[in-house]
């Protein structure tokens, strides 16, 4: 906070939630506003893989801790005597789940198999996502949403010329040689950050700040992918129905819904789960499918158009639901 342009007296805190840090930060700030504890707040999320911290070797760490605790020079020497050349090798962070030893990609490959998600469907969704994102940049829809940083103006993962034919040529990277997930229908690890200003309606009005969207409610979920056979990234499939039920609304009531995920397979698993009578009955406790089968992949939200439309203003309700995977 002291390094920012904001008032030095502004309280700040860190939150961490696997896959959902930004989401959880937003929920926390929004809750404080709703409770009247604060008038406004900025919620943000940041992730970096290019600048990951590297820890010292676990053995070396023990030696160094013993050294710092040593009460005498003799004890310090004794601790130093435990130093070994191999302790110089650092602890490299790995992209794996500590219990299963599998990466998110490998976990998603298991889900893709469990849900019978074919390679073609994943490639189609990936290609469509690239095209839509490219169109979003080209039509200026992203202009007031993305802040250029160090010369980076667009998502570097974007491949505007991607096609199903090109994607079909890639070799599987997750799920073994007969897997369906490739570098093309999976997202690479990358850096990113985002922030949102949240405020009470009165606070915004007093300052003449236009309200772009109302935050109505949010829900996170977790699944047991170790002991029960649930897929690692299936939590959103549980969170959204719970969220909508609490608000007395259904998926069909929304103009747009955005599923923000790293793998085409994850999105397709979620959609399939919501269409599946068995999943909806046995796991969600619903009498009928949560989503009508065959209603196609979700549309990318055209926020710009919607938020300026009278319908949006008059209803003054969030007609979008966004989801992101959280373990």
């Amino acid at each position: 906070m002291l390094g920012s342009l904001l008032a030095a007296q502004t309280p700040a805190y860190d939150v961490q939630q696997a896959c959902g840090t930004g989401l959880e930060a937003t929920i926390l700030v929004a809750n404080k506003i709703a409770l009247g504890q604060i008038d406004c707040g900025i919620a943000g999320g940041v992730d970096t893989t290019s600048d990951a911290p590297i820890a010292v070797n676990e053995d070396l760490r023990e030696v160094l801790l013993a050294l710092s605790r040593a009460p005498s020079n003799a004890a310090r020497l004794k601790a130093l005597a435990r130093l070994r050349p191999q302790q110089i090798v650092p602890e490299i962070p790995r992209n794996v789940e500590p219990r299963t030893g599998l990466s998110m990609g490998e976990h998603t490959a298991i889900m893709a198999r469990d849900w019978g998600i074919e390679r073609e469907a994943q490639d189609e969704l990936a290609a469509a996502s690239h095209h839509r994102l490219a169109a979003a940049y080209d039509t200026g829809w992203m202009d007031d949403l993305v802040v250029p940083f160090l010369g980076q103006e667009r998502d570097q993962n974007l491949r505007p010329d991607s096609s199903v034919e090109k994607l079909a040529k890639l070799k599987p990277v997750f799920g073994g040689p007969d897997g369906t997930m490739t570098a093309g229908n999976s997202t690479p690890l990358s850096d990113g950050a985002s922030a949102v200003l949240l405020a009470s309606e009165e606070w915004a009005k007093a300052r003449g700040i236009p309200v772009q969207a109302y935050f109505t409610d949010a829900q996170t979920a977790a699944v047991d992918y170790v002991h029960r056979r649930e897929g690692l990234l299936m939590a959103p499939a549980y969170a959204v129905p719970k969220l909508l039920a609490r608000n007395g609304t259904a998926l069909a009531d929304f103009d747009f819904y955005e599923i923000h995920e790293a793998f085409a397979a994850q999105v397709l698993c979620t959609l399939k789960a919501w269409e599946d009578p068995v999943f909806c009955s046995e796991h969600l406790g619903l009498d009928e499918a949560f989503r009508r089968a065959g209603s196609g992949p979700p549309q990318r939200p055209r926020r710009l158009a919607r938020r300026r439309s009278p319908v949006w203003r008059h209803r003054r309700a969030d007609r979008r639901v966004a989801g992101q995977g959280a373990q």
């Binding site: 469990d114 019978g116 998600i117 009578p277 068995v278 009955s281 796991h283």
Partner: protein, 468 residues
Amino acid sequence: MTDRYQQLVNTPIGKLVTKQVGLPQAPRLERYEPHQPVISGPVLFAAPGGRLAKSVAQILKAIDAEVSTPMDDDLRTAAAQAKLDAGIFNPDAASADERFKALVFDATGIASSDELQRAWAFFGPSIRRVGASGRVIVLGTAPPDAGAPEAAIAQRALEGLVRAIGKEVRKGATAQLIYVKPKAENQLESTLRFFLSPKSAFVSGQVVRVGPGVARTGTVDWAAPLAGKVALVTGAARGISAAVAEVLARDGAHVIGVDVAPMAAELAAVTGRIGGSSLTADITADDSPATIASHLLDQHGGVDVVVHNAGITRDKTLHRMIEDQWSQVIGINLTAPQRIDRELFGRDAVRRNGRIVSVSSISGIAGNAGQTNYSTSKAGVIGFVEAWAPALTKRGVTINAVAPGFIETRMTAAMPIAIREAGRRMNSVSQGGLPVDVAETIAWFASPGSAGVTGNIVRVCGQSLLGA
């Protein structure tokens, strides 16, 4: 009684040699152990347009099976209604090493020969995924009940499919066709449980018909289906019959063994071990049916299960056979069961939802040189079942027969080696069956849950080439 060939081929070297030379593999068949689940691996279930989706889903739920289905909305809805938490199988996205313990295919929706393609589409990508001692079960509608001729033809065609699958699957896997009569969907459970389980280890390539129940079943305790029931087993001292007595007792029945005086000690040993009782009688004697009926009525107030198991062989080629050899075999194997039944029904000794189970033989189906008398008697047993089934249905009693193939007993151990080996290997699992395989099949017929199973002849022969 030990099958040394099977022991040998199941050693690492034996496996290698037999594979290279192309000798039969004779895999060890899984057999039922008490308290074991019905099926010990995942089940793949498909029902394109079939009417049995809901019943099968309910049964798979009841046996707590791990189930996968294709992403077929009707089937998934049926599974959801049955509270069956089934996974999804899509061959285009599945791992190459995904295996199933059983494939269950409801083919009742197939109404023309074109639609048989659905069976190909299901089994093509799944048949190689069937594991050791696996199960392939096709459910259909018997041709006379199928309605239009096109549908009847397609349903009849399933027999060929199932028999061929039985010969294609390996490692002791079996294949069966179960025809379920319309409106008899609720009668399927005992039969599906039997064919999914290791109890049907040596039964393959069979066509079974399930119809409406002959009597109300009530709730079946699948752990002890025969609890409180009284079962009469003729010829209970040895071989197959001892196994029958033991399995019926395991299922909760009080077993009354009947055998001739010279076998009394052996009989008492068997029935004593299982907490049953014994009755010494020569079933061909004039007064025996009356003696048996009186005993059952006086001691137990009636009988629930009658197993006509007593049988003999007196092998001779026809021109050398003396009359005694002919008439003894016919008398014990075929006439005695009829006389006993007539007496039991005449005195109303068989209780409602009762069971008559006869023992036929593959010799009665295929005929066997040197066994004209035996083959005649065992073919007659089939006639016995067919002739009585309709009348007994009205009395609330089922009648069925098992037809054992090569079963490892003292009788088969005494055969010359060439004939014995031919008998053992000439079937889809390349080995002889065990007495318990016959006994388990009889126990399935005897189960109070099998009220819809009558008039069936089921071979326990590992899909023998003889008479097939």
